[in-house]
């Protein structure tokens, strides 16, 4: 019996990764489109209104996925930036750059949609509590990463400098996550729990999970498209052409 092994190291080559990304993008994009359609239908037309917040709680179906993606993409960004810095792998640094803009976009969306949710439920657009302030700091970290990377002409030097910022900033992610437990905040605590029972009705939880999955697939698709652009921009012209054969 022959054993099929996947040689993951070959995807450290920009040419091979360019080709793999080309295969994955259409699948992720189509799946994201289907899940967004299903999630929006379930969230807007099937899920019942909340007994306290009424229909205002429906902001949750875009706010929570955006907030999660903002945090998770930053952890991924820091991981790839660290790998690129330590092992000097160009693809890892390019992946970190590709993640930064999508992560910043989701963090910005989580702040804006949180504000739109806060107005009818808290009676204010913004409060300087632990969760909102640490999320704003996350947005500044993303902007700092993108700005620092753009400010340095040599891409390899830019990768290393931005990696330092990414690694320092990753400490903010657990602060965001645990802020509602560590401090007394206006922001509500976690309703979806891995260890304990989730305190959300199934009819509301289902669209939320579908929207989170859709946001993941959307992120994979757009990050891979951006990664392919970066490979074309940063690698010698022959690299991609040879790999595509």
């Amino acid at each position: 019996m022959t054993r099929r092994t996947i040689h993951w190291y070959k995807y450290a080559s920009p040419g091979n990764l360019y080709r793999l990304a080309g295969h994955l993008i259409p699948w992720c994009a189509v799946a994201a489109g289907i899940l967004f359609t299903v999630g929006l239908y379930l969230g807007l037309f099937v899920a019942p209104a909340d007994f306290q917040q009424g229909d205002a709680y429906r902001v949750l179906f875009v706010h929570v996925p955006a907030a999660w993606m903002g945090m998770l993409l930053y952890v991924l960004l820091a991981f790839y930036a660290a790998v690129g810095w330590v092992f000097n792998t160009r693809v890892s640094s390019m992946m970190a750059s590709a993640l930064s803009i999508t992560g910043a976009m989701f963090t910005f969306l989580s702040l804006i949609t949180g504000s739109l949710w806060g107005r009818p439920t808290w009676g204010t657009w913004w409060v300087w509590d632990a969760r909102t302030t640490s999320t704003l700091i996350l947005l500044f970290l993303y902007i700092g990463f993108i700005s620092l990377h753009s400010a340095i002409d040599d891409p390899r030097r830019a990768d290393r400098a931005a990696a330092v910022l990414a690694l320092v900033g990753v400490v903010n992610v657990p602060i965001i996550y645990f802020s509602v437990q560590w401090w007394s905040t206006l922001h509500q605590g976690a309703t979806i729990r891995i260890v304990n029972k989730t305190t959300m009705a199934g009819s509301m939880l289902a669209p939320l999970i579908v929207m989170i999955a859709a946001c993941w697939l959307y992120s994979i698709a757009v990050v891979l498209v951006r990664l392919r652009c970066l490979i074309l921009e940063r690698e010698p012209a022959g690299t991609v052409r040879v790999a595509a054969k």
Binding site: F45, L116, A237
Partner: protein
């Protein structure tokens, strides 16, 4: 009033639809910018090709 009507013109419609609208604009904008960038990628030109001595 049925649920769809409440969603479209209820007291919280502005906040709910505002959130979904902004999300659509942000994601759609990102996709459009990426498609433009993909059509016209900046070609890599090595310093040597630019006539810069390295």
């Amino acid at each position: 009033m049925n649920r769809t009507a409440v969603l479209f013109d209820g007291a919280h419609a502005l906040y709910v639809w505002g959130s979904y609208g902004l999300t659509l604009i942000a994601m759609g904008g990102e996709v459009l910018l990426l498609l433009r960038r993909r059509r016209a990628p900046k070609q890599h030109v090595s310093p040597r090709d630019q006539g810069i001595r390295v």
